[in-house]
């Protein structure tokens, strides 16, 4: 099985380079040319013709337009006077009422929207932290200890990476309803802390960035094996851990089917489930609120991405998972 994943393996070294290299002072620069394993050889701009620069810029501009226009529309619509979200002009402002609209969103229906956002932060935060810790322990053990059955365990983890989680959702629902875990936050959190991809990334990273010599030295100093993991392994694996945390967080934040099935109580729902229930309420909730809610629900992840830029950029090259 491991030989089949050469695609991911061969990408991994580039990841460690970008992960371990940046000191705080160089962070900004690394952020601009992430994955820049090619070195600092300057691209010679004088060799490019004006025509080619023009064509490339126009095509790139079209792409940027495609990616930005829906979000632009959302921003514009959410800023229009309450109730006029869908009236003309489609892509331009009609006054600036964003503050008042967000205020209305946060107070309407007993402030349930804020509750949903906090639920999402709670589920994604707890799930991602615990999931990252468990994955890093397992990955570290697979990288640093020789024991019987090691390759079998790793093979099972890789197989799990290849089967999408959503396929386990219905069986999980059946299982949870059997044991009475419906409407229990654990039903969302427990499945989301399993991160086979996190184990895979931790193993690759621990093998490369936690030197055996340091582990040996700690043993000679009388540090226990588990202590070595917590005091040395965990610290040296930090860049990989942030990456795993980020991807777990995004995955849990974006999850819809699982919480939609196992949480019926609307005060326990995450924001994805809550907003879709508003959307599908057949007009019981004004669509204007849905538009404003959609805009606000994007912001937390956007902030997280901006803060942790250098980590997700490096993490993607290690073969990230949808």
């Amino acid at each position: 099985m491991s030989s089949q994943l050469t695609a991911g393996d061969s990408l991994a070294p580039a990841d460690t380079k970008t992960n371990t290299a940046p000191a705080p002072a160089t962070r900004a620069r690394t952020g601009r040319n992430f994955g820049a394993a090619r070195g600092s050889g300057p691209r010679n701009n004088r060799e490019t013709s004006l025509a080619s620069r023009l064509v490339v810029t126009i095509v790139l501009g079209c792409f940027a337009l495609y990616f930005l226009v829906p979000i632009w529309w959302l921003l514009v619509a959410a800023s229009k006077p309450m109730g006029e979200q869908f009236s003309a002009p489609g892509f331009w402002f009609n006054g600036m009422h964003l503050g008042a609209n967000v205020g209305e969103l946060l107070t309407s229906r007993d402030g349930i929207f804020m509750r949903w956002i906090l639920n999402s932060i709670f589920y994604a935060g707890v799930g991602a932290i615990v999931g990252t810790l468990l994955a890093s322990m397992a990955g570290y053990a697979l990288a640093k200890y020789r024991f019987r059955g090691r390759e079998v365990v790793f093979g099972v983890v890789l197989a799990a990476v290849l089967i999408p989680k959503i396929l386990f959702t219905l069986p999980l629902y059946l299982m949870f309803s059997e044991v009475g875990l419906i409407n229990n936050p654990l039903a969302v959190i427990l499945p989301s802390i399993v991160s086979p991809f996190g184990v895979y990334l931790s193993r690759v990273f621990a093998a490369q960035s936690v030197p055996d010599e340091i582990i040996e030295a700690a043993r000679i100093d009388g540090v226990g094996e588990v202590g070595i993991y917590f005091r040395i392994g965990l610290r040296m694996m930090t860049p990989a851990l942030v990456t795993i945390f980020l991807f777990n967080f995004v995955e849990i934040w974006n999850n819809y089917l699982l919480p939609a099935m196992v949480i019926n109580d609307s005060s326990l729902q995450p924001v994805t489930v809550g907003l879709v229930s508003w959307f599908a309420s057949n007009g019981k909730v004004p669509m204007s609120l849905v538009v404003i809610g959609a805009l606000v629900s994007i912001i937390p992840l956007l902030l997280l991405f901006l803060f942790l830029q250098r980590f997700w950029k490096a993490g993607l090259t290690a073969g990230a998972l949808k």
Binding site: N33, G35, N44, A160, L275, V276, V291, A294, L301
Partner: protein, 309 residues
């Protein structure tokens, strides 16, 4: 938690490896327990459930009973035209959407990587922005843009006499494809772009000195060298296609019937669950998991054989 550790020199080799195995087991245990509980247990439970059939008596006076009947549900799934149609629809979707998206992502990566590109950071960031938008939120957003009554896109096109029926019967699958493409092109682009960045500069320099055009370098050197990244993005896109659910599910309520409750296999399985037909839902889930597993492993095998040659 810490394990008693005398200095290494005093421990015989066999004891060391025994201790290593114990530590490894200790570190692996928490993940293993949750993994077994959340992956293996539900799968086993689904397989078990799928082997039973819900039997109601003719008059419906008593509660239905579960009867062991291992083949009925699977036979029903494979002869259920609705389920088969949903499989075919997702297959068609994948055959069209995945190549289009990866071609766009590769083109975008090559353009941003090219010497003629300006404002590379800006273009990378805007491409990746959709990834930060949760799938169902992206679908909500696009559903407003597609709306039959108030689509701002159609409002813009109206003076030209064009009206696109985004949610029409023939169009709706490709409207869904557009949402997925919008969300994931930038993500795939970043992976391919990072692979492009790791091509040694000397190779490109040498090709340039030999007089190769930018087009030639891209086609004959860069694309073959980022092959592992392309395989990776392809596998993940195929897996992603198999779990198509969020986008069609959100559009369903505004589609006016062109998206039914069994539009994709996962929607079909979910509909069976909602109808409390648990054994049948379990059987379709098992079939899906097995199909996806076979598909991704086959794709890995085929593409890896090619790279060995």
């Amino acid at each position: 938690m810490s394990v008693g550790t005398p200095t290494r020199s005093t421990i015989p080799k066999t004891r060391t490896s025994g201790r290593q195995a114990r530590t490894a087991a200790l570190l692996l245990a928490p993940f293993a327990v949750i993994f077994l509980g959340m992956y293996l247990a539900p799968l086993c439970f689904a397989v078990y459930r799928s082997l039973f059939v819900l039997k109601r008596d003719g008059l419906g006076l008593t509660a239905p009973t579960l009867v062991f009947d291992p083949f009925t549900n699977y036979l029903k799934a494979f002869t259920d035209p609705v389920f088969i149609e949903s499989l075919g629809r997702v297959l068609l979707f994948g055959v069209v959407q995945v190549p289009v998206m990866l071609a766009l992502a590769t083109g975008l990566a090559l353009l941003i990587d090219s010497r003629s590109a300006r404002a590379k950071g800006f273009f990378r960031l805007t491409s990746f922005l959709p990834y930060a938008v949760p799938g169902v939120i992206a679908a909500l957003m696009w559903s407003f843009l597609y709306s039959g009554t108030s689509s701002p896109i159609n409002a813009l096109l109206a003076p030209l006499g064009i009206e696109i029926p985004f949610l029409g019967q023939d169009m709706v699958l490709w409207s869904v494809a557009n949402i997925v493409t919008w969300g994931w092109t930038g993500y795939n682009m970043i992976i391919i772009y990072a692979a492009l960045q790791s091509i040694p500069g000397e190779i490109l320099e040498a090709a340039k000195i030999d007089g190769a055009s930018a087009w030639n370098i891209a086609w004959n050197i860069k694309i073959p060298m980022v092959r592992p990244a392309l395989i990776l993005t392809a596998v993940f896109s195929i897996i992603g296609t198999a779990q198509l659910y969020n986008e069609p599910k959100v559009l369903q309520s505004v589609s006016g019937g062109s998206i039914d409750s069994a539009f994709t296999p996962i929607m079909a399985a979910q509909a069976a669950t909602a109808a409390q037909n648990y054994p049948y839902a379990a059987a379709t889930s098992v079939i899906l998991a097995v199909l996806v597993g076979i598909l991704s492993i086959t794709f890995f095998k085929i593409t890896n054989r090619g790279s060995d040659a």
